[in-house]
């Protein structure tokens, strides 16, 4: 119930292509879904987040698609660039029903964008 399952584990995309990372969850109490980007030797950094009252959120080249009925959400990176090469984590939290703000992370996806 507390898990967030992320796929694929690794992804190789050509420069200019679209990178797609998928996540699925079971706990229907989850109501906050952020994505984090981590470069080697650095901590994860918040990239974009969505709440279940919308089905899509776009910020620049990054888009989250959210399917509440399927309990799935995904990150799309348009026009992928070599500088996007990093590890991406989806996460989920039950903001409304929990007073702790605990984030449950997916297993991570290592993205390599080839020039």
């Amino acid at each position: 119930q507390q898990q967030v399952k992320q796929s694929p584990q690794s992804l190789i995309v050509q420069k200019g292509g679209i990178s797609i990372i998928n996540c699925a969850y079971e706990n229907t109490a989850f109501d906050y879904f952020p994505w984090y980007q981590q470069f080697p030797g650095k901590g994860p950094a918040l990239l974009i987040a969505i709440r279940p009252d919308v089905s899509e959120k776009k910020e620049g080249r990054f888009t989250i698609s959210f399917n509440k009925s399927a309990k799935q959400f995904s990150l799309h990176i348009m026009d992928s660039q070599p500088g996007d090469s990093a590890t991406y984590f989806c996460a989920a939290s039950a903001m409304s029903s929990s007073n702790t703000g605990k984030l449950i992370f997916g297993q991570g996806t290592t993205l390599q964008v080839k020039p």
Partner: protein, 113 residues
């Protein structure tokens, strides 16, 4: 002007030793966290403090003890270190218990030999 700073960045120590990792945030956030990232990069929460009060205490060996002297600091003390404790430990902070996302530090890579 680093937002969440951890020290040390690297820590190499022998089994059985006791060590501490310090974390400070200057963002004015009210909640701080410790996460452990294993060799497969999986991030798992360990502890969380809100205004110096412990609010999350996951299933972590009691050799690990967090301490929050004030809401800007959260330290992690580890007793009797074991090989399996080798990992990267991240401190993070948030406002309003994570409503606006976490800010992570750059991590402390702990190697137990």
């Amino acid at each position: 002007d680093t937002a969440v700073s951890q020290t040390p960045k690297y820590l190499v120590t022998q089994m059985g030793n006791d060590k501490s990792i310090k974390c400070e945030q200057n963002l004015g956030h009210d909640t701080m966290y410790w996460y452990k990232q294993d060799s497969k990069k999986f991030l798992k929460i360990m502890f969380s403090y809100n205004n110096k009060e412990l609010i999350i205490n996951e299933t972590v060996p009691n050799r690990f003890s967090p301490k929050s002297p004030d809401k800007a600091h959260l330290n992690l003390h580890i007793n009797s270190l074991e090989l399996g404790d080798s990992a990267v430990y991240f401190c993070a902070s948030s406002q309003a218990r994570g409503t606006y996302g976490y800010t992570f530090g750059s991590g402390t890579r702990l190697t137990v030999v």
